[in-house]
Assembly symmetry: C2
Homo-oligomer: 474 residues x 2
C-alpha cells in the first residue's frame, strides 16, 4: 500500500496519502503485493527452502524488536515504527500525527536540527519517514558499522526533541504547503479525500492522513507536546532491523540505545469507533478543469487482515488479483484488451489495516468512450465472479503471480522491513507474516466467490467520478 509514490517526495519524509486515483491508474501489481504481509516469507519459501530466521524480542522498557538477517550485501535497514497514526488523533486535531513526523526532524537537546540527516548523507546512507492511518515510521539505510549511530540518533529523538514555538510555526507552514500541493493542487487528491469521508461513516479512516486544512492551521505547541509525551515512547514502538547483522548484536545495540529511554504511560487499547451497518449506494463527483481524462472508482468497506474472519482477507487479496491485478486480470483483459473501451482498469485491496479496510475497482475510458460504459463493463465483470466464481486455473495463476512478485520484492531489503513493521503496527505478529503464504495457498475458488458476493454489493458502495469540465455530468 505504501512506498509506491513519487520517490522525490518520499525522500523528504513523505506522507502516505491514499492516492487512489493515481495508484489506481498506474497498475502496480508488484508494489501492492510487496506490502502484503508474508510476502517475504513466501519469497523465501519459493527462493530457498528454509524458513527465514527472524528474531523477535522485547526490551525491558517494552520496545519490541524484530531482526531480519540478510547477508547478501553489507547494508542494513533500520526502522522505528510508532503505533500512532492519523486514526488515533484527537477529534479536531487532524494532521497532528503527520505534523509530528515532520517535527521529528528538528533539533533535540543533544543534536541540532539537520545533524542526523547530515550524518546519514556523509556516510552515503538514505533516510525517510512516513505517516499512515495506523502508524508513523522512520528509517535509514546505511552500512552495518553505522547502525549504532543511527540507533543512537533515533533513540535521542524519541525523547529529547525541543518543541518551541520557533520550531513549530515554520514547520506548520510546511505541512500546510504540502497539503496545498498534494490535495488542493490535485483533483485526484481532493476526490480521494471526499470518497474516503463518504466511505467511512463513523471510523476515523474517513479523516485524511494529512489532516483537514482548517484543523492543521490550528495545530500548536501544546498539541505537539501532548502528542509527543503520549505516543513517542519505547513501549509504543517497534524496532525493525533488516540486513547484514546478527540478532544478538542488534539486541546489545538496542539495549545500549533505545533501552536507555524510559517507558511512557501505559496506553489504552487502540479502540476506535467502528463502522455501522451501511445500507446505501453513494456517489462522489468532482468536476474540475484540471482533469483531462475522466475516471471512475468504486469502494467497499471490507474487513482487514486484523479483523477478518479466517481466510477472508486472503480471499479478498486473491480476488483483487484475479479481478484487477495487472494486465492478465479480468478487468484489464475485458475492458482494455478485448472491448478496447478503457485505457486502464483494475482492482486493489488494502488489507493491512488495524481496523476495517477497503476494496476498490477503477477504470478510465479509452479515447472518447463514455465513462458510463466503462462503469457498466466493470459491473459486468464483478457480477460474473459473484454468479459464476473464478476458475481453479485463475486462482493458481493468481497465487503464482503473488509468489513471483514477492520473490522480486524480497530483493528489496527495505520492503522486507516494511512488511514486518506494517504488520506489527496493525495488530499482527511475526508469525502472521511467516504463516501468510500458507494461508494464501489454502484459499479455494469458493472462498474467492464468497467474499465477492459478500462484500462487492453495488447497493452498498461508494463510487467516485473524476470529470473534466465541461463534460456533461455522468
Amino acid at each position: 500500500m505504501i512506498l509506491s509514490e513519487k520517490s522525490a517526495t518520499f525522500r523528504d519524509h513523505a506522507l502516505f496519502l491514499p492516492q487512489r486515483g493515481r495508484r489506481a491508474l498506474a497498475g502496480c501489481v508488484l508494489l501492492a503485493a510487496a506490502f502484503l504481509p508474508g510476502a517475504a516469507a513466501l519469497a523465501e519459501t519459493a527462493g530457498q527452502p528454509q524458513q527465514q530466521q527472524v528474531a523477535n524480542f522485547l526490551l525491558d522498557n517494552g520496545m519490541e524488536v524484530v531482526v531480519i538477517p540478510d547477508h547478501r550485501a553489507p547494508i542494513v535497514t533500520h526502522m522505528v515504527w510508532y503505533k500512532i497514526g492519523s486514526a488515533d488523533e484527537p477529534p479536531g486535531q487532524s494532521g497532528i500525527a503527520h505534523f509530528f513526523e515532520h517535527l521529528m526532524f528538528k533539533g533535540t537537546s543533544k543534536h541540532k536540527a539537520g545533524e542526523f540527516g547530515a550524518k546519514i548523507a556523509e556516510i552515503g546512507g538514505s533516510e525517510n519517514a512516513f505517516t499512515s492511518y495506523d502508524y508513523t515510521a522512520y528509517f535509514q539505510q546505511v552500512s552495518p558499522e553505522a547502525l549504532e549511530t543511527m540507533m543512537s540518533f533515533e533513540a535521542d529523538r524519541m525523547r529529547n526533541l525541543i518543541l518551541t514555538d520557533k520550531v513549530i510555526s515554520p514547520e506548520r507552514d510546511v505541512i500546510l504547503e504540502e497539503r496545498r500541493s498534494r490535495v488542493e493542487g490535485d483533483p485526484d487528491g481532493l476526490l480521494s479525500e471526499e470518497i474516503q469521508a463518504t466511505l467511512f461513516q463513523n471510523h476515523p479512516y474517513r479523516i485524511p492522513v494529512i489532516g483537514w486544512m482548517h484543523e492543521m492551521e490550528k495545530l500548536n505547541r501544546a498539541d505537539a507536546v501532548a502528542f509527543y509525551d503520549r505516543y513517542y515512547a519505547p513501549n509504543n514502538a517497534v524496532l525493525i532491523v533488516a540486513g547484514d547483522v546478527e540478532p544478538e548484536a542488534v539486541r546489545m545495540l538496542a539495549e545500549k540505545t533505545f533501552g536507555e529511554v524510559p517507558p511512557g504511560p501505559d496506553l489504552p487499547p487502540r479502540v476506535r469507533p467502528t463502522e455501522p451497518e451501511q445500507n446505501t449506494a453513494r456517489t462522489v463527483t468532482l468536476t474540475d478543469s484540471r482533469v483531462s481524462v475522466p475516471s471512475v472508482s468504486r469502494f467497499w468497506v471490507t474487513p482487514s487482515y486484523n479483523n477478518a474472519e479466517p481466510g477472508e482477507a486472503e480471499a479478498l487479496d486473491l480476488l483483487s488479483e484475479i479481478l484487477g491485478g495487472g494486465t492478465r486480470s479480468r478487468l484489464y483483459q475485458a475492458l482494455v484488451v478485448k472491448d478496447r473501451i478503457a485505457s486502464g482498469a483494475g482492482a486493489y485491496f488494502s488489507g493491512t489495516m488495524l481496523d476495517s479496510s477497503s476494496f476498490t475497482v477503477y477504470g478510465a475510458p479509452h479515447g472518447a468512450e463514455g465513462l458510463d460504459r466503462v462503469e457498466a463493463a466493470i459491473d459486468v465483470e464483478i457480477a460474473r465472479i459473484v454468479s459464476s466464481g473464478v476458475t481453479d486455473a485463475e486462482l493458481e495463476n493468481a497465487k503464482d503471480r503473488f509468489v513471483r512478485s514477492m520473490i522480486f520484492a524480497r530483493d528489496n531489503q527495505s520492503n522486507m522491513a516494511n512488511i514486518y513493521g506494517q504488520t506489527l503496527a496493525t495488530g499482527g505478529t511475526v508469525e502472521d507474516v511467516q504463516e501468510w503464504p500458507d494461508r494464501i495457498m489454502a484459499v479455494t475458488a469458493d472462498q474467492v466467490q464468497a467474499v465477492a458476493a459478500k462484500y462487492l454489493n453495488p447497493d452498498v458502495s461508494v463510487t467516485g467520478y473524476l470529470l473534466p469540465e465541461p463534460t456533461a455530468r455522468n
Copy 2:
C-alpha cells in the same frame, strides 16, 4: 425543527431524529416557523404592541432561568434544558445522550421510578422529554399550583438518580428497540442517517442522535455515570418557565429547589470538530421494497443562527420560505400546481443549531412521473433564484407568512418555552429571540439571492434518493 413528529411517540419521552424524508413530504410551514427564534416576540409585536416581559437571571449555582409570563390561562410550562446533545458525545458512545434521557425517568434516592409521572397524571398534567444534537430537554405542563412540585422532582433527578445495572440493562433494550422501529424499520430513517453521515464529513452532526446500533449495544453503567456526573448539573442547564406565574415567584421556587443542587465541574467551551471545505457533489441512494413512492432531497451545509455572518441565517430562512415553504412557494407552485409532475415539493432550513446547519429541498413525483424530471424542475427553480433573485412582493409575502404563522405559534405556550430553550441551548440569548423579528424584517431581496448563490451550489451538495424496488436506479 422539533415537536412536529408523531405525537404518540412524543408523549413517551421521544427522540427528535432528523426525520427529513417524512417532514419534507408533510409540508409543515407552521411548525417549522414556530421554532424559529423570535417567533414569539414577533407574534407579540403583531398581536399586541408591547414587548413581551421576559425575565432572565442566574441562580448562585450557575443555573440560568428564563420566565415568560402568559396569563391567558391557568397553565404553566416547566422545562429544563441541558446543554448536552448527541454532538457532544464521546467518540464511540453514540446514543448516550438519548439513552440518558430515558434513564432520567428511573428512580432516585428520593423517589421511586414512575412516581414523578404518576404525580403528573394525578393532577391532569402532561410531560415529555427530547434529545437533539445540541441539547436534551425535559418538560411538564401543569396548573400553576403544581409548579413547585415539578421543580422539586426535576431538581431531584438532576443529581440523585440511582444508576445500577438493573436499571441500565432493560432500558438499553428499550432504546435498541426504539432504533429498530424508527430507523431499521423505516427506509426514510435509514436514508436520512446516511445522508447526514455523507453531508457532514467531519462534524459530529453526521452521527445519528439515536446512535449507531453497534455502539448503543455497548453503552453501560460506567458510561452513564460518567455522563451524568459531567453534564447533569445546574451550571449546564437552563430553566424555562412559561405561563401564569410571576418572575419573582419563580425565582423563589427555583432557589428553593434547583438552587440547592451543587454546581458540577466547569465544562470547557462546546468546541466540536468543524466541517472542512467541501468540493464534491454526492448522492446517497436507498432502494427498498418498503418504499411505495420515490422521492429526492438535496442538502447543503450552511451556517446556523449561531455562526452565520450577520443576516445570512435570516436570509436563508426567508429563502426556504419563498422557495419551498408551503403551497404558495415557488417549488410547490411550479412542480405541483403548474407542471403537475410532483405530489409534493418544498424546502426547509434548520437554522437553530450550535454549529453548522443545513438547507434542504425535496420533491416526490406525481403518479408515474420520473424522479429525474422532478429533480430537474427543482434545479430550475433554484437556478432562477440564483440568477434573477426574488421579487420584493415575494419577500414581503414571505415575511408576512412568517408573522402569521408565529401568531398562531404564540398560542401554544409550550412552543414559546421551546423557542427560548432551543435558542439558549444553541448559543443564543433572550435578546436574540426578541430582536429576531427586526432582523427578519430587515432582510433584502439581494440578501436572499446572495445566500442562494453562495450556498445552493449543485456541485457541492448531497442528494438523497429513496427508491422502490424494482424501479430502475435513478
